[in-house]
Symmetry: C2
Subunit: 151 residues, 2 copies
DNA sequence: AATTAAATGAAAATTATTTTTATTTATACG
DNA sequence: CGTATAAATAAAAATAATTTTCATTTAATT
């Protein structure tokens, strides 16, 4: 994710193109890892000309609300965010509990008739959450050697 | 969910059968609604012989960890819990954004080859989250009249 | 360049959640 | 049944994530 792409996304959402927003997006989009608001803040607060933590919170929330970034759900009662490079089609993610890596699941992994079933019963579906947790190939391999941090 | 059922569940999990745990389980299991720790606390603190909020947090966490109760994910950065009457087979839920009602989705609504795909690529799957959000039939119906609170 | 709604900073406040430590209790066992 | 003991709980205090407020700045428009 570069500034151009970030700029395009913000334009599309009718949000002002600000250096802070671009910085947050580039930070999250630079690696396939999920981060907390605090972590994003630490990584960018010295660049730009400093940025406040509340601003990071606001930006992350806006972008998540707009669907540009994905909320990652863990049991630790903290919110994590991930900016997927693939903004084209709707899909979900595999999250490595060991190294924080997030990987695409090809298509939306929802079973065929699931949403239809709800709607047929009279309900209206507005969104859905789907997240596969586990340990990624690299972290699973005993002699991985690769760039998989042990957290 | 009555005390007998709660007792059986705790026994199965090798957890001590305490009045507080039974109270929390009966509270959550009395309605198909999700609640926060604080809400559970308010509903039961006068019964039993009072109960501390940290105890409610601990119990909810234990039961969620054990898979007896389900964490409900909302964007409001708070943890919600739901105790499903159907403890038999693995499945997921539809959550009404309007009245907090939680409904069963028949089977696990994950697409067929989803977990296989991850494993075939070398990763290991440990768990998955699947939640459908929307507005339930009752809340969707203009002249519902029924017992669907407007939140 | 002027205008203005939106974005941001800084400090303070809030609130959900956790930790600590002393006390109580469920359960196993003689 | 008493007793022993590990586990559970209370109460108070602490923590840490997140939000609010309000004054100031800035991106976009004219
Ligand atoms: Mn993706
Ligand atoms: Mn259920
Ligand atoms: Zn990994
Ligand atoms: Zn409803």
């Amino acid at each position: 994710m570069n500034r151009e792409q970030g700029r395009d996304i913000l334009k599309r959402l009718n949000m002002k193109v600000t250096p802070k927003r671009l910085e947050v997006m580039c930070c999250l989009g630079s690696e396939p890892l999920y981060l907390s608001a605090d972590e994003v803040w630490h990584r960018i607060k010295d660049r730009v000309d400093s940025i406040g933590l509340p601003t990071v919170y606001r930006i992350l929330d806006e972008l998540a609300e707009a669907g540009v970034i994905t909320r990652i759900f863990l049991a630790d009662r903290k919110q994590y965010y991930f900016l997927c490079a693939n903004q084209d089609h709707h899909h979900h993610h595999f999250v490595c509990e060991s190294c924080r890596r997030v990987e695409d699941l090809g298509q939306c992994a929802l079973g065929e008739g699931t949403l239809d079933a709800v709607q047929r019963s009279g309900g209206r579906v507005t969104s859905h959450i789907l997240q596969i947790n586990g340990v990624c190939a690299t972290c699973s391999t005993p002699r991985g050697g690769a760039a998989c941090r042990t957290k």
